[in-house]
Symmetry: C5
Subunit: 324 residues, 5 copies
Amino acid sequence: MIVDCGVYAGGERQDLPKDPETVAQALDDDGECFGWVGLYEPSPAELRRVQDLFGLHELAVEDALKAHQRPKVERYGDSIVVVLRTLWYVDEGDAVETGQVSVFVGRRYVVTVRHGEGAPLTTARKELEERASVLGHGPPAVLWAICDSVVDGYETVAEQVEIDVDEVEASVFSPDRTSDAERIYLLKREVLEMRRAIVPLREPMEGFAHGSVPLVSPEAAPFFRDVADHVARVAEQTEGIDTLLSSALNAHLARVSVQQNDDMRKISAWVCIAAVPTTVAAIYGMNFDNMPELRWYYGYFVCVGGMAAICATLYVFFRRVGWL
Amino acid sequence: MIVDCGVYAGGERQDLPKDPETVAQALDDDGECFGWVGLYEPSPAELRRVQDLFGLHELAVEDALKAHQRPKVERYGDSIVVVLRTLWYVDEGDAVETGQVSVFVGRRYVVTVRHGEGAPLTTARKELEERASVLGHGPPAVLWAICDSVVDGYETVAEQVEIDVDEVEASVFSPDRTSDAERIYLLKREVLEMRRAIVPLREPMEGFAHGSVPLVSPEAAPFFRDVADHVARVAEQTEGIDTLLSSALNAHLARVSVQQNDDMRKISAWVCIAAVPTTVAAIYGMNFDNMPELRWYYGYFVCVGGMAAICATLYVFFRRVGWL
Amino acid sequence: MIVDCGVYAGGERQDLPKDPETVAQALDDDGECFGWVGLYEPSPAELRRVQDLFGLHELAVEDALKAHQRPKVERYGDSIVVVLRTLWYVDEGDAVETGQVSVFVGRRYVVTVRHGEGAPLTTARKELEERASVLGHGPPAVLWAICDSVVDGYETVAEQVEIDVDEVEASVFSPDRTSDAERIYLLKREVLEMRRAIVPLREPMEGFAHGSVPLVSPEAAPFFRDVADHVARVAEQTEGIDTLLSSALNAHLARVSVQQNDDMRKISAWVCIAAVPTTVAAIYGMNFDNMPELRWYYGYFVCVGGMAAICATLYVFFRRVGWL
Amino acid sequence: MIVDCGVYAGGERQDLPKDPETVAQALDDDGECFGWVGLYEPSPAELRRVQDLFGLHELAVEDALKAHQRPKVERYGDSIVVVLRTLWYVDEGDAVETGQVSVFVGRRYVVTVRHGEGAPLTTARKELEERASVLGHGPPAVLWAICDSVVDGYETVAEQVEIDVDEVEASVFSPDRTSDAERIYLLKREVLEMRRAIVPLREPMEGFAHGSVPLVSPEAAPFFRDVADHVARVAEQTEGIDTLLSSALNAHLARVSVQQNDDMRKISAWVCIAAVPTTVAAIYGMNFDNMPELRWYYGYFVCVGGMAAICATLYVFFRRVGWL
Amino acid sequence: MIVDCGVYAGGERQDLPKDPETVAQALDDDGECFGWVGLYEPSPAELRRVQDLFGLHELAVEDALKAHQRPKVERYGDSIVVVLRTLWYVDEGDAVETGQVSVFVGRRYVVTVRHGEGAPLTTARKELEERASVLGHGPPAVLWAICDSVVDGYETVAEQVEIDVDEVEASVFSPDRTSDAERIYLLKREVLEMRRAIVPLREPMEGFAHGSVPLVSPEAAPFFRDVADHVARVAEQTEGIDTLLSSALNAHLARVSVQQNDDMRKISAWVCIAAVPTTVAAIYGMNFDNMPELRWYYGYFVCVGGMAAICATLYVFFRRVGWL
């Protein structure tokens, strides 16, 4: 699906029909403007059409059709292709979902191909269109806006996941008996997904920030430096979450063991208290002819009283040593 | 065994007898064509014959005879030898099996030596023969086709193993009592096998992609860039699976502990409920002469009723505190 | 909030009104002096005012407004911006809290923007003002004083956390039954926070120490070398604490298991001792007509004595094998 | 002990007395030959004698006297000293033992000093003497032959240890109750020993293979490439074994927990089945005057039959829920 | 405290009074000699005195006063300062203690400042004074002697700790029930302390060995190569010990679990054996009127014999299945 097609000159969007052909034509007519074509899960035919108009590289287009690429930056002649993985958080199920944005950046065009439901680029486009001074830098500005928007998405997801981790922590260390292993494991899976999206991006973003990519002009570099910084921070945050989850799983295990120990001692104390009257009663249930106590008038009451006294003493004792 | 021998000129296979001698002769006659000889678990004699025809390096040939080489790329003069480990998945036993492909690439010939049952190269050859434009690049195109086919195999295996991991996960976190340690361990072994095949390939494939190997022309580099990318992705995927398996083993351990705890409390509750009537009955089984209750007409019924009441109360209590 | 504004010439503070405009003016008037403006959680307007006076870079100012930046050093033209995370220890709750100091260093000015309650810079300023020879180096001296003060803060925190670790250790290995998993986990969290502040600082401080940053003169480099050294040491100390905490958690787990084992054996020994009289009494409680022992005159006493003897023997036995 | 001394010219061993003096003399007389002196755990005097004859470096000789050096390659002027750790497997005890070979390589001599019982070099010498073409390369050929022989030893040991790991695995996952922690731990120790021998060798062998060591001629490099390759493979194999052992220990722990769980449930089920008749019997053992069942003619049989029925029902129930 | 002050010329100690002033004066008088001043935990005044005599750098002197520096090598103009951490083993408590040696090396002087009780330098001085040829190299020789002596100390400590590890191992795998977690943890702490002392030294020692430090002449480099080698070996040894301790802790945990399992089964078997006579006795203790067995003349004996038979059978059964 072709989402939006715009021609920009001097930081302003030109009022032209929104189809790729118009964009391509405008580029031919006028040496000052540049075009931005946005596609969403395009059919092969749609992508072919755009490819022919802007001369995109065969292999990069093949990559853009498939949704499970590794994040990367590649040069084809004087154009570059940036593949980003988008992340968004789905409240029901506390899941992190992933999509993909491929950005083809040439001297005078940007083509974006997006996969996945979340993380739309329309707000990024709108915000950029409102900042004429930035947009005036041309295609690198668009690339920056997209990277910035995608990396902002990473930070939102990381925050959500940190909230989930806080919940799991609270559950692990609550006095209730909980079984948190599954939740911790699932969070580790999410974190793994996040790392796969974020970590491979660190190096190319540093490249943009240091101006080592030809399309990115020295004035644009500080903007990418900001993005690179956010990528670095969110990457470290993700590492940190992962470490915490491992520790939480171990702490969970330790707590379960401590709890089992406590339960076992509590149970044993009660068994011990119950064993006393049973044993005493069994003794006085023996059928020996000559058992003087049995003949005593208050024998029974003394016996039952004695049992109660021993049980009470044991109870107090177990309380004191912390078993009950 | 000599599987196939072909002479290719201008991207087309020449109609010639399929034996190495014909191939070698064709190369002498005509300066434009190149030959591709495919061997499968060759006898030393067969390999010697091919070695003599194309002047393959002694040490590389020795390596090709043995099936347990480390993946590598080596230069001998102006030819290179690429050793790849092939992977395939065997459904019965959920096992990953490994084979080996050694590829000798010269200016005008390719010799492939394959070991192991799975991962045949015939489909790679067929597909390549149908793409004359690619095949026209000569030996590097053949090398690319083989690498691509082998790395595709890695991805298939990684997907299968991920399915296995999903099954193990489901089993670990199912409410059933399961003993998943062995399955997780075996999967870790498979992953180890995969890493041994994939990780050492990462660097040389990057070398091909950056055109730092003389035989690979700049036009061919983007194709290898694609392969390098797939190797990187599948290597990361394998790392990810390994991490997940470790976490799954820990989570399994945590769940077993939680379950044991639950069971222990449940058992203890029942023991406690059973202890009450036994103790009471033991008391009224004592043989004291003077036990007034025993003489009451409804004593027995009151006693049994009392036992039942206490047991029921305990049952409700244990239910409420979550022990039953 | 504007905390303090000073103009310094020849290592001496000039007696001028404390507002940024005066500082800026003084710089214009006199080519020898430099200014230091200190802000604490400034409003955007305050920061804008200072930005305009000294020509601070847009992006760096945006970073300084937000309190959760990653530690970094960045160059903008011939000025540099250093972002540091401050750490301080809060006794109640044994928590490590974090703040931020952004330092804008130009040829003739320093602007510091601080966030967070702890780790004030006033003492750093006072100490520096008393060392005219150091202060004479100009803005780099101020940068050094701030870095030194912040890194000193790290060391204080690390010492406090080490004390906490010692307490946890003592608790883990005390003969008392303790549940230390939560405390260890929380300490791991603190350590993670510390690492996020300290580790990214290691490299830029090395850069200062090696004189690879233009503003830092060769004479100033040894001072930064000292700071870089402290950063390295406290980073290693933090790693060490982290490793110790992991080991402590494992040791805690091992001790809980050993303790459970000990308890279980102790309980079992008592159950065993109690089982003997119960079983014997049950046997002599049987109602067979012909049970000769029951008729013996001293049968009962022999029986009870026998029970006691067996119980005593068992007690001694269990003591000897270490179960009691 | 001087094991063997040979003078070689043109790939052939000269027929000369086997003592170091003869070798040294032959080198003086004839500019074409080279000598190989083999020592086994030499006395300081023996080593001093050889040192004086060939001018070996003081420090290197000191190292060769002690048996616990780290593997390394060092240059002294135009000679090099290679220290290798030898490994061999001792069947009784499944132990890996270590020795040491120091090789002094000069332009025209090789001196080898071996420590430890296993891994003799005589077969390496014999095989090399049969390959005149290789031996013709002079001292580097001898160095290669020794490295090759030592690294072959690594591979043999790694295979043996892998067999041990397979046995441990089989034991861990056998249905029998086993205590494999000690065996796994001891294997980890052996692996540690292996890594200490193998890993430091990786880099210098790569150096030989890339011809960056002056004594190794370009034609000899491919041979060392082969050795470097084997070192890399055996190093990875050792890493792999180590990882597997860690996983095996964890899996062992998980299985012990599962087994304990199973046992506990089984035991509890039997306790539960036994508790029913005891409780019922205790009830009918009470001495109430008015217990109608006691007077029924078939009361006893009904009662015992009821007990048996309940027990059987419980047995079937526990079987069905998997506790028995 | 000033321990010793010597002036050396041509490898021989000059017969002069032992105070720093004499040393400084001798250096002025005679261009051939060099001085070595040894301080032990000096007061600030003493250090100031020496600093003024030899022109030591301010910051380095500050470091030398404090005892908890990180090991490092730093250049100040044409002098270098080496900070080493000394290690020694204290038998009571099996503890590793640490001290510090700061070595100021100039063209013609060496000043050593030592902290901590153990690891004295007097033997190093004595041994060096006996080797005139080495001492003739001047200050680098002294530096080498000190490094060598300190690193020898590391090796002694590592050996002692390995003995402790062997003891812990023996304890972990002994059939006795032991609680080794604390000992293992404390050893891990010692190892951490050792790593902090040793690992940061690896790189600068390599620097000395490769002659990249101006004061160290090419002839002295091989001596430092030897020290660098020992540092590398002891660093690896320490890593190895750390790994072993982690494995030992895990193995300890596994063994405790196995032992608990064994104990539980043993206890359960005895409970089971005891339950049989109790249940049977309870049944024959019921008060039914019509219980034919009770009337049999040998009923009691048959019953008790039956109990004993069942118990014996159970005992044999449990023995056979390995529960007893």
